[in-house]
């Protein structure tokens, strides 16, 4: 089942991308990678992923914008968005949820927790698509 679920990872830090890619592939997801917001938008248009792991501070188009775009489009609104950010203030998290995020994970994160949270979201995706 899992290989049918597309996960898009967006971050401008190569080392973080590298670790997230490894983790998601190991869980069996179909993984896509973007290094900034605009690249992410292209992939979203093309592939329509089920889950996006999204950094906030990136050059050009930032994570908030990507999320807002996704959640305000009929085509994409079902996509689960997980923010992964070093911004850990209350106000940052509030802003993240206000643009429609499903989850807000602060950096640095525990890989195991992150994986299990993503898996939990994936179950909803699977059952959602089944019904």
């Amino acid at each position: 089942m899992k290989e049918l679920i597309k996960v898009l990872i967006v971050d401008d830090e190569p080392s973080i991308l590298m670790s997230l890619e490894f983790l998601m592939k190991k869980e069996g997801y179909q993984v896509f990678i973007a290094r900034d917001g605009s690249e992410a938008m292209d992939i979203i248009e093309k592939e329509v992923p089920s889950i996006i792991l999204l950094d906030i501070m990136m050059p050009n188009v930032d994570g908030y914008e990507v999320c807002y775009h996704v959640k305000n489009s009929l085509r994409f609104e079902h996509i689960k968005v997980v923010f992964l950010s070093a911004k850990n203030k209350e106000s940052d998290m509030e802003k993240g949820y206000s643009v429609g995020a499903d989850l807000y994970v602060t950096k640095p994160f525990s890989t195991r927790t992150l994986v299990s949270k993503v898996n939990a979201l994936a179950i909803n995706v699977v059952s959602g698509s089944a019904s």
Binding site: S15, I16, M18, S19, F22, M57, D62, A86, K107, S110
Partner: protein, 902 residues
């Protein structure tokens, strides 16, 4: 020349004068006042040069040689002092609304009416003869020109009448242009402009005649002097006399120094008619220049006349006319005649106005105002009365001058009578100069000094002149009064060896000054005297701050004041004056008692019409004044000064307070800003630290959880962990570094370094990275760049930073970096230029701020800690240098830092 023609020309000239005066007044009404022009002011001062100058200088040069020049040297010496003396007098007169010299002296010494009367009498006695000789000059010049044409009827027709008619015409002119306005502080613009025009005419006329004599009749200055030097009697006229004449020069110069300021007509044009103190600047050099010009041809004309008319065939006073006549130059003769005519008329007009103001304000008005009868009769129309008094006095002055001319003046030359006038007004000098600079000078001293001085003047100069006319026995001159030898008018107390004028001046001034000093020091003064003394001496201090009424204490009713004002200004204007004053000073209009300020103001207004002494009498008549002792006056003055200075220091304090408050506000703003910056800085630092930390944690957890990883992958992951740890460590060091720079704890370890060695070392260090990206690196050193005192390691840090940034932003293969040094005017410029992506103009300043994106969250910093440039900037600034960037998006960046070689 026919006498009828001559009369026509004279009348025509007077008509033109009327025209000029009328035109000037019309211009002034249109707002294009001519007297605001400093040249008009300077020219009007030349009323100093009368017919005496025009005809008499030549005459005097013939008899006394170059001594005639004293009359012009005195004023020239005096001019620079005008800035000190005359400017002060002008300021005082404006503030106190003083309109004549009599008023000035009376006002200075407690607005004393007696002093005003005395000064007026001295002026009349001293100046009437002077006016008379102007009339004489006109009629005799007329006769000379008329006779020359063989018109013997001239005698029958006009002799005895001509001067009279001239006096009548001039009095009409003077009445028309001199008494139009009753407030004599309002200026006579028409009259002044006409006088200025006359000054030009007489100068041109004299220059043309002088030129004719010198260059047409003779062959230039050299020729005349050459011919004259052959005649021993003439030779003495252009060299200094050996016979102990030097003291004469001194006295005559002194005399003219006082005359140029205190002659009533000079006071009128220089002080009363002055509209702007700054005009003095121009007058200071223009007036002496005028006098120089009008004197250039005096000696040549005198010598020429002597050479042409041997055996005294012609009176030397008339040479100016006689020479053109001899050569039958009709037009030139006419021009000269008009020149002399203008010199005489201008003097008569101004002198008469000045005298008439004194007569009406200082002689007549005080008497009128004391008489209730007259006041009742003219109730409501006192201004008309004042004007009529003034008109009558003008006519009277000219009539008296005419009579004097008929009875006495015939016997004397122009100059000797002029000198009598000069000596008369010289008597005012102690009272005026003392009054300007010496507060102790008082009424008693001035009064006794003036009386004693003028009595001596009368006895030693005037009396002998009337003896000559047959009014007194000749024995007074020969054997002294009552036969007492030491009372001989020309050698008082046996003083001999001086000319009459110097002799008179010596004795009169000696007594005058002596009495002034003695009685001033030894007699008490009243409060008003002290008040006026302080205001006069310290005028520049008080003219804007202290109302003279500060010392007035009494009761007056607005109703009475209004009646008083309406007498002179009419009801409507008076009401307006009172209303405006109340508005300006925030006085309640309902109050029926007059504010002391108002009383002082009204007194000044009235002083402008009737003189200070009369104004005082009028104010006293409507107010009940309390006596104030001198001590009280002094304490009032002191307290008002203290109040003033207390006020000033209070103001200063409140200004300081305001300044402190705003400084505090600013500081608070800065603190707030710094606080926010610090917050932003901290959260950015935290973010920057979390990013590598995230990678380190994630990667090591992965390696830990997946023992079965591919060895290659594991190696790659662990390698990244190490790299990210390095990055973390560097970041922390930089943050600490920057903190040190910002708190000022970072010190430089300076040594003698060569910037080009440093650059070479850096290139060596980064050589590997350059090679990896296949970047072309060029270094252009400046071999003239000297060594400098700097911190080697820190400079190296800067160059490393700039070069590694450049490497970072260059594309592989295509990259090109140029490092260069330039030594220009004591500064070494080091630049690092790349052909990378460039930096947007908006960010070129911001990139030197730490984490410059902190201010604008939407901008993501380029790769790097975001602290390198900030630290570089701090380092360069510690070296007292500057660092900047020039860049355009797409065409690379050029970073330059400049350090001065000390």
């Amino acid at each position: 020349m026919n006498s009828v023609v001559l009369i026509m020309v004279s009348l025509l000239y007077l008509a033109i004068l009327f025209g000029i005066a009328y035109w000037a007044e019309k211009q002034s009404e249109k707002g294009k006042s001519l007297v605001t022009n400093p040249y008009i002011y300077s020219l009007s001062l030349a009323v100093y040069c009368t017919a005496w100058t025009f005809y008499g200088s030549v005459g005097r040069a013939v008899t006394n040689g170059i001594e005639f020049l004293t009359v012009f040297i005195g004023p020239t010496i005096m001019m620079p002092l005008w800035w000190i003396v005359l400017r002060k007098i002008i300021r005082i007169c404006k503030v106190q609304r003083i309109t004549s010299i009599a008023d000035f002296i009376s006002s200075r010494y407690g607005k004393n009416a007696t002093l005003g009367v005395l000064v007026t009498l001295i002026c009349i006695l001293g100046v009437l003869p002077y006016i008379a000789i102007q009339l004489k000059a006109i009629s005799s010049s007329f006769l000379i020109v008329a006779h020359s044409s063989g018109d013997q009827n001239a005698d029958n027709l006009f002799w005895g009448d001509l001067a009279f008619y001239i006096a009548v015409v001039l009095s009409v002119f003077t009445i028309i242009f001199g008494t139009r306005k009753i407030d004599s502080t309002e200026r006579h613009e028409g009259m002044v402009t006409a006088i200025a025009a006359e000054s030009i005419i007489k100068l041109v006329a004299f220059l043309v005649t002088g030129f004719f004599v010198t260059y047409i009749v003779f062959d230039g200055f050299g020729d005349i002097f050459q011919k004259a030097s052959l005649i021993p009697e003439l030779k003495k006229t252009f060299v200094f006399n050996k016979e102990g004449d030097s003291s004469g020069w001194f006295w005559h110069i002194l005399l003219s120094m006082s005359a140029v300021m205190f002659l009533p007509r000079q006071f009128q044009v220089a002080v009363v008619e002055n509209v702007n103190e700054k005009h003095l600047d121009k007058a200071m050099w223009l007036f002496p220049l005028y006098m120089l010009l009008i004197n250039i041809f005096v000696i040549p004309t005198a010598l020429g006349g002597e050479l042409l008319f041997a055996n005294n065939a012609v009176n030397s006073d008339n040479y100016v006319l006689a020479i053109p006549l001899k050569f039958n130059q009709k037009i030139l003769t006419l021009l000269t005649y008009i020149g002399g005519f203008s010199a005489a008329t201008s003097m008569i007009i101004v002198e008469t106005i000045a005298l008439s103001v004194m007569i009406s304000n200082n002689l007549v008005m005080p008497v009128v105002l004391k008489s209730k009868k007259i006041q009742e009769q003219f109730q409501g129309n006192l201004s008309g009365l004042v004007n009529n008094i003034r008109r009558t006095s003008i006519a009277l002055v000219l009539l008296l001058a005419y009579l004097y001319y008929k009875t006495i003046a015939e016997h004397y030359s122009l100059v000797s009578i002029g000198m009598v006038s000069f000596t008369a007004v010289a008597q005012f000098t102690p009272a005026i100069i003392g009054g300007l600079f010496w507060k102790t000078g008082n009424r008693k001293g001035a009064l006794i000094g003036l009386i004693s001085g003028s009595v001596i003047w009368f006895y030693t100069l005037v009396l002998p002149s009337i003896v000559g006319a047959g009014f007194f026995p000749q024995s007074i001159i020969d054997h002294g009064l009552f036969g007492l030898e030491f009372l001989k008018p020309f050698s008082l107390f046996g003083l001999k060896g001086m000319d009459n004028v110097s002799h008179c001046l010596f004795w009169s001034l000696l007594c005058n000054i002596g009495c002034y000093l003695y009685f001033s020091i030894n007699s008490p003064i009243t409060s008003i005297e002290h008040n006026q003394a302080v205001i006069f001496v310290d005028i520049f201090q008080y003219s804007e701050q202290l109302e003279p009424s500060a010392i007035w204490r009494g009761t007056a009713y607005i109703r009475d004041i209004k009646i008083l004002l309406s007498n002179f200004f009419g009801e409507k204007r008076s009401e307006k004056i009172l209303r405006l004053f109340a508005q300006k000073h925030n006085l309640s209009p309902k109050n029926d008692r007059a504010d002391p300020k108002l009383v002082g103001y009204v007194e000044k207004l009235l002083a402008g019409v009737v003189g200070t002494a009369s104004a005082r009498i009028m104010i006293s008549s409507v107010s009940k004044e309390e006596k104030i002792s001198t001590e009280e006056v002094i304490s009032i003055l002191k307290s008002s000064q203290e109040l003033l200075s207390a006020n000033k220091s209070l103001k200063k304090k409140s200004v300081e307070l305001e300044k402190a408050t705003s400084e505090l506000k600013d500081a608070n703003e800065i603190l707030k800003r710094t606080d926010k910056l610090k917050d932003d800085f901290l959260s950015t630092v935290a973010h920057e630290i979390r990013t590598p930390l995230t990678s380190i944690r994630a990667l090591s957890e992965i390696v830990y959880d997946n023992p079965d990883m591919e060895p290659d992958e594991r190696e790659h992951f662990l390698g990244t962990v190490v790299k990210e740890s390095d990055r973390l460590g560097r970041l922390i060091n930089q943050v600490l570094d920057l903190e040190k720079y910002e708190s000022g704890k970072q010190k430089l370890d300076k040594e003698d370094v060569d910037i080009q060695d440093i650059i070479k070392d850096v290139i060596d260090t980064l050589h590997q990275q350059v090679k990896e990206k296949s970047i072309k690196l060029i270094f252009i050193p400046d071999r003239f760049a000297p060594r400098l005192e700097a911190d080697r390691d820190k400079l190296m840090q800067v160059v490393v930073n700039l070069l590694s940034n450049a490497i970072k932003y260059c594309e592989p293969q295509k990259g090109e970096i140029i490092i260069a040094t330039h030594y220009v005017e004591g500064c070494i410029y080091t630049s690092v230029q790349d052909n990378g992506s460039g930096i947007d103009k908006r960010f070129q300043r911001l990139i030197f701020d730490k984490f410059f994106q902190a201010e604008d969250q939407t901008i993501k910093k380029p790769k790097g800690s975001g602290l390198g440039l900030a630290i570089s900037k701090k380092i360069i600034e510690l070296h007292n240098g500057q660092i900047w960037v020039e860049s355009e998006v797409g065409s690379g960046s050029k970073f330059t830092f400049m350090i001065a070689v000390v």
